[in-house]
Amino acid sequence: MIRSHFKGVLVEGNKTYAEVTRDIALPTETKPSRWWYAAMTLATLALLAGAWALYETFAYGLGTWGINNTVAWGWDIINFVWWIGIGHAGTAFTIFLLIFRQKWASSINRTAEAMTVFAVLCAALFPLLHMGRPWLAFYILPYPNTRGPLWLNYNSPLFWDVLAISTYLLMSITLWYFGMIPDLATIRDRSKSKFKKTIYGIFAMGWSGSAIQYNRYESLNKILGGLAAPLVISVHSIVALDFAVSVIPGWHTTIFPPYFFVGAIFSGFAMVLTIMIMLRKVLKIKDFVTDKHLEFIARVLQFGSLIIGSSYLMEIFIAWYSGVEYEAFTFLHVRASGNFSSDFWIMVLCNAIMPQFFWFKKFRKSLFWLFIISIMINIGMWFERFVIIVSSLSQDFLPANWATYKPTLVDIGLYVGTFGLFMAGMLMFIRFIPIIAINEVKGISKLGYEENKEKE
């Protein structure tokens, strides 16, 4: 048996298999409580706002947004990068903790992966929306055509982006879905109603729990995981290339791929923390997601924050050291002390300073502080993208072009809409899918207790 080098119990309460099944499957088998309906209403309202914004965008054009000839990317791409960043948590959780044999991830990875899927879906909306002529979006695919045939510009990071995002979306859905097949089978077997049995049965694809199946299934999961590991690194690196490949001061930096990747993990883990704290509260899964889990995440965040912070410093240092006047201007003048200084310092505060409180056990142990700091990181990461995208474009090479950027209601509506989509997705997820990998947790539920027993 593969043992985690982690000492102690991973699932509290020394539950039997049946208890594990019962506890986790509970939300899918009972009527949702009031908070669920309240949250769903909120999500629906947000979705409606998004639908309105979507209509405005499609019916009248991108002019309804706040972007202009100088700052041609605004909230659309900020939100895109932000969501993509959040979408890194799930896969990263599964993959890296799998690679590092961190068994404790089992309790969280299902939720994290669901988060990934919905966040990437939200993110994937924006590249489509930010096109001037979205009805011609298929031009971006290299399909045989009667135009010569005319193919694509493979030099464009946007094409890499499209590939990376769609690959990542497909991969995370696959990972997520194949990860939950045994659990779907569990629900199928437990459900009384024929309808429910049929639906879960369809998705469980005839899972029977046989060792032969498990064997191939494990192998598949390992392959997918192995493929997803480099992918998860590359996705945000490629998103970073959107900026790094360009010539705009503040974008044109080689540090971007690793910096973006760490940022993504950072924001993703923060979002996981936020959501887990909330779910733990309302779904009564404290036994599975223990205080220790939260503390681990906090440690990861603290580490990520150090990297992020040093990246900020490095960027500024290089801007000065390189001697490129435009870059120095962007970093030292525009961001640190100019028009965007408030955004810049919010970013620094939220991302580089606040998580440092996790050095102290008191903060790691306090649910309140965990929650506050995780939210702050989410905000900080949004500001990071805002600072990168808007400040660089707003004041670039020729001062005659310099322009400010102000989002419109439509911009905000779209962002709210994606929140609605994300929330609705997550709510549906906790309603219909076991939020913790039952089969995996059963494998670790006895850990700690057996050792104790052996000791006894």
Partner: protein
């Protein structure tokens, strides 16, 4: 019936020869409007909304393709080839500005105005207003479509009968009030009218008056004339409140002369020195080597002092500026040119006297070709208004003038009520016509016959290039009719030319041949006797006598003509409204320019409204270089009745112009402006004015340049030496197009911007969108201030797509919509573009434009592209872009293609200078040069090899195909 006009190659039309009889009765519009595009559901449009799905495939099957009709000519006219443009020489004259032009006519409709290159007066230059005038032709809302009587539609026959009857029975005076008429034939028409009606008189006035210059010359030289100024022969140019590069008299001519005098080449090492004295920052002042801020009253003091010093009467108490000026003038004996735009006879007499002392007459000022422009007489106008007020006028006929709008105060409007018969001839909606009994619409100048004599020894013709779009008739025809002449105006022109002008030449003995040639060339310039003048003692005495200027230590309000709108007669032209002011970079508004010091005193910032008079509040622009305690406000705004574009835009300040000693005075003293709480947003196209120490516009001074031609451009050599590349540099077989911009010749007048807009179907987006920084102009003129804020140096830099050979925009387009051509052009393919806007971001020059909305056929953008007739101005050789598409300067690739094809058809190579993109063509200063870099003898190759040549952001190794020549100042 829905009227469509669609130009593909074929359209419906009958024989139309501008040189032949005007076949009235059926308007071109009706001919053009036949429904030859019976558009049903377009599969393409449908698909657009379906996206691409399996479902759409089936729905498609039920869609029908639109049926397009191809309607040929019944008889194909010889000079019209479907699909090819024809050119007609003509003359632009709007009552104030004159410009010889060529009209590009495509399929029977004028689509573009270009300067007439063969005319030495302008060398093919134009101004923005001339370029934009073609749009006014198609201004449906801004033109009268038929005659009106008391606001009701009437017929010409009815109006003729009524008016002739009323004129006959008129007991008191009949007055024809026009702006300056430079047409000999129209003068003849008026003479005939005068012969018919004894009680008739003709009053000429100009909204922007040059009355004092004429009166001063009458006093000084006994000639009520405006001489011909020669800025190109001047070594020292001194301007007092004269914006001669953008507005004053003949700006196109002066710009060319000025640019020539300031151009530097290997074989021309000297340039003129330009001093400008003014209160507000004008385009001319922005170009000056040294600019002095003065309050309006100081002008007289300085001139007086200078004259006294020059005349040897200096007593040392003269202002410092006068001493310096006198010293400079002494250095430039016979090479000095002093001009003043102030409408004050004292000032003008002093200017004459100083010019005389400096030996300018015969050298830089010439009465041989004296100008016929701006003959208006302020005193006559005042007299007329007094007569009207006194009820002495029975009939007032206004010919293409708008005194209700531009007469100082409400005097004219009030007096108008006391006139029995008010007739207005007007090609455009205006305030005066609205108050007239009869509105008799005259055709646009592109629909009319006319002749012009803007200067002595210069005759031009204006010929119609399209059949009248509306039920209009020329004023001259009406006057002829009312004076019982059967002759049509066109015949009269021919008659007059045969009698008076034909005789001035001896090249041909056949009038028809002479007439044909004049029509083809557009102008006729006979040899005339040169005139030498001597100043009168009286004038010198007047100049010498100590004149105490009324010193105003308080605030002054200075009126000026805006570069875009001039005196406001073209205000309804959306292209001009959206043309950013070259200096302040504001469009769609007039504003109060105040100095930074005053802004601090008043506690105001850009956009804050200040109250100048009771009820007159204007937004502030903090204008570096504005004289303290002066406020400059542009005339020409605040039109009440002009069509939908201009109405309600800005404030009309003509009301506050004063009459002083019989002259209109374009500055008044005011109380300190009051800050109001209100704030408005100004449509600024540039909000940062400092180069932040970047080598964007490179400058040097003459002495440094003479020592080292690369002075100020040292970075170029450094960058060339430090070029490093990962990939081999691209080689271009065949052509490699490039554009050179001589910053020494560019004065920032923005004619190129409008030319580009006209040529490339650039949409107008309105004030709100401009405020959101989304202006669509493919080329813009960047303006930077250098030096201190209270009197900064100003540099202009035309910036269009740089067509980089290592273009960063090309790399990032995922769908290959922007690629590099084999001729070095950075191509944008609109139909492939999906609008990711990545290229816009990655363009370091930010010259790419995005179609944020659907700008054509969209009610929200109710300008010419939302109008069937307005769309007739569109260039059929350039795609009208759909929303969501990126666009930018293409080096006018359609012109390149056209010329290449022409060369192939003529079995030869493309000649240097044969291809002229619209901006190059329009430039009055010839600051832009386009050509083939692969041809070592081409002008552009030579300029690219010049030591002054550099590229903007060249350190990025983008290899732009646009080069700039450093700006050299003669300080």
């Amino acid at each position: 019936m829905k009227k469509y006009w669609k130009s593909l190659e074929e359209y419906n039309g009958t024989h139309f020869d501008p040189g032949e009889e005007d076949q009235s009765g059926i308007s071109t519009f009706e001919l053009l409007s036949s429904e030859n595009n019976e558009s049903k559901t377009s599969r393409r449009d449908f698909l657009k909304w379906c996206g691409f799905s399996f479902m759409s495939a089936t729905v498609l099957a039920s869609c029908e393709s639109p049926i397009k009709k191809a309607i040929p000519y019944l008889n194909q006219p010889e000079d019209i080839t479907p699909g090819m443009a024809s050119w007609y020489a003509s003359s632009f004259y709007d009552g104030k500005d004159f410009c010889p032009i060529l009209v590009k006519v495509r399929d029977g409709r004028p689509i573009k105005i270009e300067g007439n290159k063969s005319v030495m007066l302008t060398h093919g230059g134009t101004t923005g207003r001339v370029q934009a005038s073609v749009l006014s032709l198609y201004d449906t809302a801004g033109r009268y479509h038929h005659p009106f009587y008391n606001g009701e539609k009437t017929t010409w026959e009815q109006a003729d009968r009524d008016i002739a009857g009323k004129l006959d029975s008129a007991r008191k005076d009949i007055v024809l009030l026009t702006s300056t008429i430079i047409s000999p034939s129209t003068q003849e028409v008026i003479n005939r009218f005068k012969n018919r009606y004894n009680n008739f008189r003709h009053v000429v006035y100009d909204a922007i008056s040059y009355s004092a210059i004429r009166e001063a010359n009458l006093l000084s030289f006994n000639r009520r004339e405006i001489p011909f100024y020669r800025f190109d022969s001047a070594g020292l140019i001194v301007g007092f409140n004269a914006d001669f590069l953008a507005n004053w008299l003949l700006p196109v001519t002066y710009t060319r002369q000025y640019a020539d005098s300031r151009a530097l080449r290997k074989d021309k090492k000297e340039m003129s020195r330009h001093l400008q004295f003014e209160s507000g920052m004008s385009v001319t002042g922005a170009n000056a080597d040294k600019r002095f801020k003065i309050k309006p009253h100081e002008e007289l003091q300085i001139l007086q002092g200078t004259y006294n010093i020059l005349a040897g009467n200096g007593n040392g108490s003269e202002p410092e500026q006068a001493k310096n000026l006198a010293a400079e003038i002494r250095k430039n004996e016979n090479k000095t040119l002093i001009v003043s735009g102030t409408n004050d006879i004292k000032v003008q007499t002093l200017v004459n006297a100083i010019n005389y002392m400096a030996g300018s007459y015969g050298n830089t000022i010439d009465f041989t070709n004296s100008l016929n422009l701006c003959q208006g007489n302020d005193k006559d106008l005042q007299q007329l208004v007094n007569d009207m007020e006194a009820g002495k006028i029975s009939a007032l006929i206004v010919g293409d003038a708008n005194p209700v709008y531009d007469y100082p105060g409400n005097g004219f409007k009030n007096a108008l009520d006391k006139v029995d018969l008010k007739v207005s001839f007007s090609s455009v909606l205006n305030e005066t016509s609205e108050l007239a009994d009869y509105i008799l619409p005259s055709p646009h100048y592109l629909e009319s016959w006319d002749d012009v004599a803007p200067a002595n020894g210069f005759y031009g013709v204006a010929q119609p290039t399209i059949r009248p779009l509306f039920d209009t008739r020329q004023m001259q025809d009406s006057l002829l009719k009312w004076s019982d002449n059967d002759l049509s105006y066109k015949d009269l022109i021919k008659e007059l030319w045969e009698k008076q002008i034909f005789t001035k030449q001896n090249k041909t003995g056949l009038f028809t041949a002479f007439w044909q040639e004049s029509l083809q060339l557009g102008v006729f310039t006979p040899e005339i006797e040169s005139v030498n003048v001597n100043i009168s003692n009286e004038a010198l005495a007047t100049a010498g006598s100590l004149q105490k200027a009324t010193v105003n230590e308080g605030w002054d309000l200075v009126f000026y003509e805006s570069t875009a709108l001039g005196d406001g007669r073209h205000a309804n032209n959306p292209w001009l409204q959206e043309l950013p002011d070259p200096v302040s970079k504001v469009c769609w508004d007039n504003f109060a320019a105040i100095s930074p010091v005053d802004a601090e005193v008043l506690g105001v910032n850009n956009g804050d409204l200040i109250r100048l008079f009771e009820g007159v509040e204007l937004p502030v622009i903090v204008q570096p270089g504005q004289k303290e305690k002066t406020v400059s406000v542009a005339l020409g705004y605040g039109r009440q009745r002009s069509g939908k574009v201009a109405e309600g835009i800005g404030v009309n300040v003509f009301n506050f112009v004063e009459f002083k000693d019989g002259y209109k005075k374009y500055n008044v003293s005011i109380d300190q402006p009051v800050k109001t709480k209100a704030k408005t947003d100004l449509a600024l196209t540039q909000t940062h004015h400092n180069m932040e120490g970047r080598a964007i516009v490179r400058e040097s001074v003459l002495t440094a340049w003479q020592n080292d031609p690369a002075s100020g451009n040292e970075l170029h050599e450094f960058n060339e030496a430090h070029k490093a590349t990962l990939y081999p540099e691209a080689k271009f077989e065949g052509h490699h197009w490039a554009l050179a911009v001589d910053l020494n010749r560019c004065i920032g007048c923005s004619a190129c911007v409008i030319a580009c807009q006209a040529e490339n179907n650039v949409p107008v987006i309105g004030k709100r969108e401009v405020m959101r920084r989304r202006i669509m102009h493919w080329m813009r003129i960047d303006r930077y201030y250098t030096g201190e804020t209270d009197n900064p140096g100003v540099v202009f830099q035309p910036l269009m797509c740089q067509h980089c050979d290592n273009a960063p925009c090309e790399n990032v387009c995922p769908v290959a919509a922007t690629t590099h051509s084999d001729e070095g052009i950075n191509q944008i393919t609109y139909n492939r573009c999906v609008g990711t806007k990545y290229c816009i971001n990655n363009c370091p020059y930010k010259v790419r434009r995005f179609n944020w909305f659907q700008y054509s056929k969209n009610k929200a953008f109710d300008y010419n592209m939302n109008d069937d007739i307005g769309r007739m101005v569109l260039n059929p050789d350039v795609t009208v872009r759909e929303r969501g598409v990126v666009e930018k300067c293409s080096f006018c690739v359609q012109r390149i293609q056209e010329v290449k094809l022409k060369a192939k058809l003529e079995n030869r190579k493309v000649m240097d200078g044969e291809i002229q993109p619209a901006c190059v063509q329009a430039c009055p200063g010839k600051a832009l040069v386009f050509g083939d870099l692969n041809d070592p003898d081409s002008e552009v190759s030579k300029l690219f090899k010049d030591e002054r040549n550099y590229h903007v952001l060249e350190e990025m190794h983008l290899l732009p195909s646009v080069g700039y020549l450093t700006k050299i100042r003669n300080v």
